[in-house]
Amino acid sequence: MQKKAMLATTVALFALAGAAGAQEFNDPAEFARQRAQLSMTPQGPEGQPWAQHLGDSMVDTAKWKKDGPATICFSNAGIFNPWRVVGMHNFQAEAEAQGDRIKELIVVDAEGKDEKQIADIEALVAGGKCDVLIVSPNTTAALTPAVEAAATKLPVVVFDRGVNTTAPVTYIHPVGGYGFGISSGEFIAANLEKGANVLALRIVPGVDVLETRYSAAKNIFDEAGLNVVGSEFTGSDRAKTKSVVEDYLNRGIQIDAIWMDAGDTATAALEAFEDAGLPYPVISGEDQQDFLRKWRDENLTAIAPSYPTYQWRTPIIAALDILDGKPVPGPEWVLPQPAITAETRDGYIDEKLPPLHYSLCGCQDLPGYPARWGGSD
């Protein structure tokens, strides 16, 4: 009850203090930190970014050492978007690739509900079968107490979205939202003249990992003297995206660049220019196959920043290392977060894979590729 009241208060505060909320997504220190991380040389095995990390900090895990094959439990926030679909395939394939080292993999899906995930975690811990618990939290604040409680009983690995506690052994994530906005914002700024127009296309408002992408890019655009003519929410809907861009073009607004906080509708945005008989804008998309192919075929001026799905492989690796008593990067395990450029693009294109496949899955060497990810052999 108290938790609920707290949640309600938080929501109310957020709704009332929209400006204060925006502040939270525009943190200059975090911006600077992520900008530095983007250019760091990662440590760890060459060519395996999912096993690499940025920075030197490691945590000791000797107290969690346990012999024999492991039972790994995973509380997943849900599989509610294509990114998580690809991620889940990576996760399962990585577990399969580990073979005998894993006795059992127990996965529970919270279907995007905080209450369910809290109950899931409590049930997993109470069940006593898990040697290690992996959590991909649905929301940060709501899941913190449950994760904290679990971490007193068994080693916990958190990834993707974080929690407000250092109780877990490590928190795995790529550089982050600011990094995404920095890679794409800087590319667009470098390819446009001062005073040029940028249209920002975003999925939904109020999601931390997306808001930070936008705030980072917006800072860079403002600094470069670019004019953000609009910031529109498309809900990941292709028809809506295309209509929104058409409306801008119909208003006679010159759009020199399209910036996107997620690339799954990038090709729809480009089609609006095709149908209007206009030249393509400079564009930042994401690492989806359809965008990379379009980029190659139409020779676009483009960049594909990423929030790599290969991070779904890392928790399994971390979990097994912890049970071996090996030190792991922590308390934050920051994964490299590359952006695909014109030079590296063709290496990421695989015609066998479906259009919305995230190319930075790091899954080419995993069992079942490409069929597991919906590809044709």
Binding site: G230, V244, L356, G374
Partner: protein, 325 residues
């Protein structure tokens, strides 16, 4: 059905239709005020191209509404159509036409299922089609694995995307606008050109009385659901053509199509309305979407205004009808 019974109802519908039409021209006039180039035929044609899926959906939905039901499954049918088309055609232009035929067969089967459940199992249509919406969305999700897969070739996309350029008088002519006119003509003929419309109105007004009057109630209802599903397949083909493969192509369309009919003056739970309610209502709704886009309001405000205008429009229509009758 006697003339004396029929006349006031037709009269009421005519007044309401005028409301939908007036609303559309009013909204479009505001669009033109804000953005004068929407008066150009080219942009109007583009407006029609984008509105076509919703207009067709509403024109199918009105069949079900007239018989006193709802079809909540049309959005799911749209999503399913786009998903299935992409997976079955998988980028092979040679497969397009046979897959389209198959899609219509699937649509007919879904409509038949809805109709049979409503007519014979006596499940209220709001529940029956909600169930269909859920199982169909689940099926599409399972089939696609949650992410868009497969590919739509050019010749499929053209139906919703292609436009003839340099057409005399109108500038550009989108293929979707042609499809829209043909489909609406067919649906108009189906409703008003034959006795079907009168039977549907009678069933929606009072199914018991209709049955006693010798109207095949079950068949009338089933036909309505089949036509609504077929219209949804058509909308799905146009939408998939307009913007490509998407796993959420149809989300929210079921409520938009019902809202469109009501804005146009059709009465929920049946008994009153014509195809023009659906057409003008859908065009009004789409004009409202476009207007709110053009005004450049923040998203949250846009959604609120949209909701309020919907309530206002329907309230106004209801009030006018009550006053006149």
């Amino acid at each position: 059905m006697s003339e004396t019974l029929n006349t006031p109802r037709v009269e009421a519908a005519r007044i309401a239709v005028n409301a939908g039409l007036v609303l559309f021209f009013g909204l479009y006039a505001v669009i033109v005020l804000i953005q004068p180039n929407y008066l150009e035929p080219g942009l109007f044609m583009n407006f029609l191209r984008r509105a076509a899926p919703l207009v067709i959906l509403a024109s199918g939905q009105i069949y079900v509404i007239l018989t006193g039901g709802f079809d909540l499954s049309v959005g799911a049918v749209v999503t399913f159509t786009v998903t299935a088309a992409a997976l079955l055609i998988n980028g092979d232009p040679g497969a397009t036409w046979s897959v389209i035929a198959l899609l219509y067969l699937m649509g007919a089967a879904i409509g038949l299922f809805n109709g049979l459940v409503v007519a014979y199992l006596k499940v209220p249509s709001i529940i029956a089609t909600l169930g269909t919406m859920l199982w169909l969305n689940g099926l599409a999700l399972a089939w696609s694995g949650g992410a868009a897969r497969g590919d739509l070739p050019e010749n499929f996309r053209d139906l919703g995307r292609f436009q003839w350029r340099d057409v005399p008088l109108i500038g550009t002519l989108p293929m979707a606008a042609l499809v829209l006119v043909v489909v609406c003509a067919l649906l108009w003929w189906g409703l008003h050109g034959m006795g079907y419309g009168k039977r549907a109105l009678a069933v929606g007004d009072n199914p018991r009385a209709a049955e006693l009057a010798g109207i095949p109630v079950a068949r009338t209802r089933i036909t309505a659901f089949v036509i609504s599903s077929l219209a949804a397949v058509t909308a799905g083909i146009l939408l998939g053509g307009f913007s490509g493969v998407s796993v959420n192509a149809g989300s929210g369309l079921e409520l938009q199509s019902i809202a469109a009919c009501v804005i146009g003056g059709a009465m929920l739970l049946g008994g009153r309305g014509t195809i023009w309610c659906a057409i003008w209502g859908a065009l009004s709704l789409f004009a409202l979407f476009t207007l709110l886009n053009l005004m450049g309001l923040p998203q949250a405000l846009r959604d609120s205004i949209q909701g309020l205008i919907l309530i206002l429009a329907v309230g106004l229509t209801a009030w006018r009808t009550r006053r006149r009758s």
